[in-house]
């Protein structure tokens, strides 16, 4: 899980959610690229991220694109965020005795407008959190930062500030994470993605 490096945060605010990732992709100590995409949109209301082994991040994101496209064609409606979370969980548990080395974070707005976040371990055990979820090589640092900075009922702009500061400070203390950041904030009427400039070392 710490071969390629990388980490994620998901945070819940007042009628909004945010997901943040660093951008590093490397092979152990050698950093290779600063543009590794670890967060992906499902639709307007749901984004998810995968942290862990790079190959499984890419394989799983392709699998989920396929599964959600099929869902849309079969059901003729958009998938709900809780449903998607269970879809991810089953996909991971299918490989219980030869798992994908990736730990997902899912954030989204439910059909009734309530914000939703959750994370999972590599075999699909869902953690339904009320406040924030973290995963990746800097997870311990992230837990510390989020616990200190998060407060309930943050508005979208404040949530962006909080999640960004937590990501930057935590990844600066981890050799395998960092090299910039990307934050996406989702509200019922818009999605804003911003790129963070961080220490490139």
């Amino acid at each position: 899980m710490s071969y390629n490096g990388g980490c994620l945060i998901g945070m819940r605010g007042k009628n909004c959610v945010a997901i943040a990732t660093d951008r590093r992709f490397g092979v152990q100590a050698l950093g290779l690229t600063t543009e590794f995409q670890k967060i992906f949109p499902v639709n307007d209301k749901i984004w998810y991220g995968l942290a862990g082994l790079g190959t499984d991040v890419q394989t799983l994101s392709e699998k989920f694109t396929f599964k959600t496209n099929m869902y849309k064609l079969n059901e003729d409606r958009e998938i709900g965020v809780k449903t998607f979370a269970h879809l991810v969980s089953s996909t991971l548990y299918e490989k219980r005795f030869g798992p994908y080395y990736a730990e997902p974070i899912i954030v989204g707005i439910e059909k009734d407008g309530r914000p939703f976040i959750c994370s999972m371990d590599l075999i699909g055990c869902i953690n339904f959190a009320e406040d924030f979820v973290v995963t990746g090589t800097a997870s311990e640092q992230l837990y510390g930062m989020c616990e200190a900075l998060w407060e309930p009922e943050l508005e979208a702009e404040d949530l962006f500030e909080t999640i960004s500061q937590a990501m930057m400070s935590a990844t600066n203390r981890d050799a395998l994470s960092g090299w910039g950041g990307v934050v996406t904030v989702i509200t019922p009427d818009k999605i804003i993605t911003r790129t963070l400039k961080g220490r490139s070392d």
Binding site: F25, L32, T33, L53, G54, T55, Q58, T59
Partner: protein, 192 residues
């Protein structure tokens, strides 16, 4: 010990691969070409487990050709890279995974260059410049310093020479000869 380097320039990709085939302490052959042409504008360079490398590369080459025959169109570089990654990912958790690291260099007919790095675990990334093997530890920093998005072929050749000189100075492995190719809108050709 094997080295692959790729540099994407303005409208081309410059690639270099060492030409030595060695087993343990013996150099078996000089002049080995560690690449396979996928189609007119796309080149797959490979390193890794002997045997796996050629089997994998030729399997990919044949399947890309088959796609062309069936569908009548030449696959673009990102499609080739995606196909290669998928095959690698399927092999990863099979009975016999391919232990191959690769670079895919391609230029569309319009001349937009693309370079993809891929490893034996089936992670793949589009990169402006890339290297496989021990070389990466030496030449990635050199290319970080001197690469620009609009390099001409001469400038890229100078940058590549800087990389090869770095290896000569600092890398313990003796790599006397490199095969240097250019991929652009006119296809693939060897340059000195």
């Amino acid at each position: 010990m094997q080295v692959l380097i790729g540099i994407a320039g303005k409208d081309f990709v410059l690639t270099a691969a060492d030409t030595t085939t060695a087993r343990s302490i013996v150099v078996m052959k000089h002049g080995e070409d560690k690449s396979r042409l996928l189609n007119k504008h796309n080149l797959l360079l490979y390193t890794g487990e002997p045997g796996d490398t050629v089997q994998f590369a030729e399997y990919i080459q044949c399947n890309i050709k088959l796609y062309e025959i069936r569908n009548g169109l030449e696959l673009g570089t990102s499609a080739c890279a995606s196909f290669v990654r998928k095959q690698m990912a399927e092999s990863l958790r099979s009975r016999g995974p391919y232990n191959v690291n690769y670079l895919i260099a391609g230029a569309s007919k319009k001349g937009e260059p693309e370079l993809y790095w891929g490893d034996y675990l089936a992670a793949s990334q589009k990169m402006p410049f890339a290297a496989q093997g021990y070389a990466a530890y030496f030449v990635m920093s050199t290319m970080d310093r001197y690469w620009r998005p609009d390099l001409s072929l001469e400038e890229a050749r100078v940058l590549l020479q800087k990389c090869l000189d770095e290896l000569k100075t600092r890398f313990i492995g003796n790599l006397p000869e490199f095969l240097i190719k250019v991929v652009d809108k006119d296809g693939v050709r060897i340059i000195a």
